[in-house]
């Protein structure tokens, strides 16, 4: 966002973090309002400083806009529509893969996620994508489930595997 263009500073997308920060700080202060000072003091300190910093930031931005040294744009957040689409799909696929873990288990959801990404983002052929994603998901299963015994919800694959090999 500091990419000065013709000496001007773009602003807009960089309000997101201060707004989130101010919102969280407000919530935090409410959540501790009934507590003893020892439980409160550091949170209050951080929140107050944060408000102060955000205040300065807001003031600077407003002054900048009034003086014409700042201009509003949101593009820097996503750069281009193509990139936004790619990132959006990657993040959406990630969210989807996490959402199905409780039903599909680690191995299947990882396979599905990698397969979709490889086909969609890299443009791999379905066959190659299936082989690569399958190998990676299976390696993950061996390493994380069999060896490291992480307690992921079991899916059809894990149950089938454990029924077959008795592990």
């Amino acid at each position: 966002m500091n990419d000065d263009r013709n000496g001007k500073v773009a602003t807009g997308a960089d309000w997101i973090i201060p707004i989130l920060g101010a919102g969280f700080a407000t919530y935090y202060l409410i959540s501790i309002k009934d507590l003893d000072w020892e439980a409160k003091v550091s949170g209050v300190f951080c929140a107050v400083v944060l408000f102060l910093l955000i205040g300065i930031f807001a003031l600077r931005t407003v002054l900048g806009l009034l003086r014409g040294t700042h201009y509003i744009e949101l593009r820097s957040l996503y750069e281009s529509h193509k990139l936004a689409l790619i990132r959006g799909s990657l993040f959406a696929l990630t969210v989807a893969s996490v959402a199905i873990i409780p039903w599909a288990g680690f191995t299947l959801s990882t396979f599905g996620f990698l397969f979709a990404c490889f086909v969609w983002l890299q443009g791999m052929s379905a066959r190659n994508a299936a082989i690569t994603a399958g190998a990676l998901a299976f390696a993950g299963y061996v390493l994380f489930i069999l060896i490291l015994r992480t307690s992921f919800p079991q899916g059809p694959f894990e149950r089938l595997a454990s029924a077959l090999i008795g592990l």
């Binding site: 439980a39 910093l53 750069e79 990657l90 996620f113 990698l114 490889f118 983002l121 791999m124």
Partner: protein, 506 residues
């Protein structure tokens, strides 16, 4: 403590006879160290059936090798992918990843391995010969002193964010406030948890780490087809053994740097509860401070890799000292080692060095041998491992996401942590794209809770007298050092400006 040549040579022989075990343990350690979310403590717990079944010497050789190796492995993913394997290697990202992008990934890996080895070995040697004195340090490092040491680390927020101070400070204080989520340090009352029981113990560091580093990095890297710059890509393709040797030379040109940053790690590690993450950040901050070219930190310079890695491994020696000498574990891994030792009927604490000095000193001998072994197993790998970055990003990014999410889940086994990681991934992405420094945020999250705990404890001990913070001689020396370290950059700048203006007028 009756140290004799006989004890040391016996221990060396014992360790050499178990060289195969050390090779296995260090390999496991490096792998789990490099994987975010997995650490030596969980691994040693999983392998308890083994360590309880074998002799106590063998168990210790195994556990100590694995423990130090996990400190060594953490830097690999920090350097190559900007994803720290654990809190202790978060600072390594600052310069390690820029090096990798320039095509110097192989050299950076070598730097990290050599610095880890030197940091680990020097502090292990110091521990062997100065153990009684080093152990006394714990008697001078109380809450007040820790407050100052933590402030050293926290001032790094301002340094890493120097290109946009206001946004950096906003990120840092937001991090501190996120770090203040969870039970307070005196009464264990939950604060700012949104009602989620999963946040009662604070925001899990690993979810933040994976979110702001791994997930957001994966999203960011999609803008290019490779994480490397074009020039870096060319360099990387031609890379061979020469680069590994270059890394070794680079490291030993900075031998003294590796030694003193390792000692910082050792000293911080001795304090119970203070861990590798503080050590690494403080060492980085100190390294930058005394550098002639502080402005180059963050652009990919060797010192920026050496300092955190050496300190991180020096901290491993420090962590074990209170366990051995006082009988109080300094961290989780040490606590698990304590289980194994008590199970084998070994009494830790001062009596260990009277009843079984071989075992006590043997721990450090194992460290020496393990580091030497790792140098031989890791250096040849750098050539191959560093090629990881040649994978095109549309393939690499999904793999990073899939496998680091496992790390976010593994430590606690909550689905909640996966969602939290995604939220922090989105926050990290927005921060990076809008100029809020994520390292500043992370420093707040990591160091904030420890700072709060120590401040509140010091106040409570003193009966809420704020003068307590300037009541200890050691603490006051540290305060002066802190003041100096804050002033030096401006003084240097002022002198430079004056010299420049003189040169201009002359």
């Amino acid at each position: 403590m009756n140290l004799s040549f006989q004890i040391l040579s016996d221990q060396f022989l014992l360790n050499f006879s178990y060289l195969w075990l050390i090779v296995i343990a260090t390999t496991i350690g490096i792998i789990i160290g490099a994987m975010p979310g997995f650490g030596s403590a969980n691994t040693i717990i999983m392998l308890l059936p083994f360590t309880l079944a074998v002799d106590v010497d063998v168990a210790m050789i195994f556990m100590v090798s694995l423990f130090v190796a996990s400190h060594m492995g953490g830097g690999i993913t920090s350097i190559l992918l900007n994803i720290p394997g654990n809190g202790g290697s978060a600072a390594t990202c600052l310069d390690g990843y820029p090096m990798a992008r320039k095509g110097l990934g192989q050299q950076a890996l070598v730097l990290s391995f050599v610095a880890s080895t030197v940091g680990g070995m020097v502090t292990a040697l110091l521990s062997i010969f100065l153990l009684p004195y080093i152990a006394r340090l714990a008697f001078y490092m109380h809450s007040v002193e820790m407050v100052v040491i933590l402030l050293f680390g926290i001032t790094l927020i301002a340094s890493v964010a120097s290109d946009n101070m206001l946004k950096g400070l906003i990120a840092g204080f937001l991090g501190l406030l996120i770090g203040a989520i969870g039970a307070d340090h005196i009464y264990s009352t939950p604060r700012g948890t949104f009602g989620f029981i999963e946040l009662y113990d604070g925001v899990p560091l690993i979810a933040v780490l994976i979110g702001v580093f791994a997930i957001s990095e994966a999203l960011i890297m999609m803008e290019n087809s490779s994480v490397l710059s074009d020039a870096g890509r060319q360099m990387m393709k031609q890379a061979g053994w020469k680069e590994t040797w270059e890394g070794v030379v680079m490291s030993f040109q900075r031998t003294w740097h590796m030694i003193w940053t390792g000692i910082i790690g050792l000293i911080i590690g001795i304090v119970p509860g203070a861990g590798a993450s503080i050590a690494a950040f403080v060492a980085y901050q100190q390294s930058r401070l005394y550098s002639k070219t502080p402005e180059k930190y963050g652009t990919g310079i060797p010192e920026g890799v050496i300092a955190p890695e050496s300190a991180n491994n020096g901290c491993a020696s420090g962590d074990l000292i209170p366990l051995l000498v006082i009988g109080v574990p300094g961290g989780t891994t040490a606590a698990v080692m304590l289980i194994v030792m008590t199970y084998h009927g070994v009494q830790l604490g001062p009596r260990l060095f009277i009843q079984n000095p071989g075992l006590g000193y043997g721990v450090f001998i194992t460290m020496l041998v393990a580091y030497a072994v790792m140098l031989f197993t890791t250096l040849p790998l750098t050539k191959y491992v560093s090629k990881l970055v040649l994978i095109p990003t549309p393939v690499l990014a999904p793999i990073i996401i899939a496998f680091t999410l496992v790390g976010a889940f593994a430590p606690r086994g909550y689905m909640f942590d996966l969602w939290l990681t995604l939220i922090f991934g989105a926050i990290g992405y927005v921060c990076r794209k809008t100029g809020f420094n994520v390292v500043a945020l992370l420093i707040g999250v990591i160091l904030g809770p420890m700072l709060e705990a120590n401040v509140m404890r010091a106040l409570r001990i003193s009966g809420n007298d704020p003068w307590v913070f300037v009541s200890s001689p050691v603490g006051n020396v540290l305060w002066v050092a802190l003041a100096v370290s804050l002033a030096i950059p401006s003084i240097v700048q002022w002198r430079r400006n004056r010299a420049a203006s003189r040169a201009a007028t002359a």
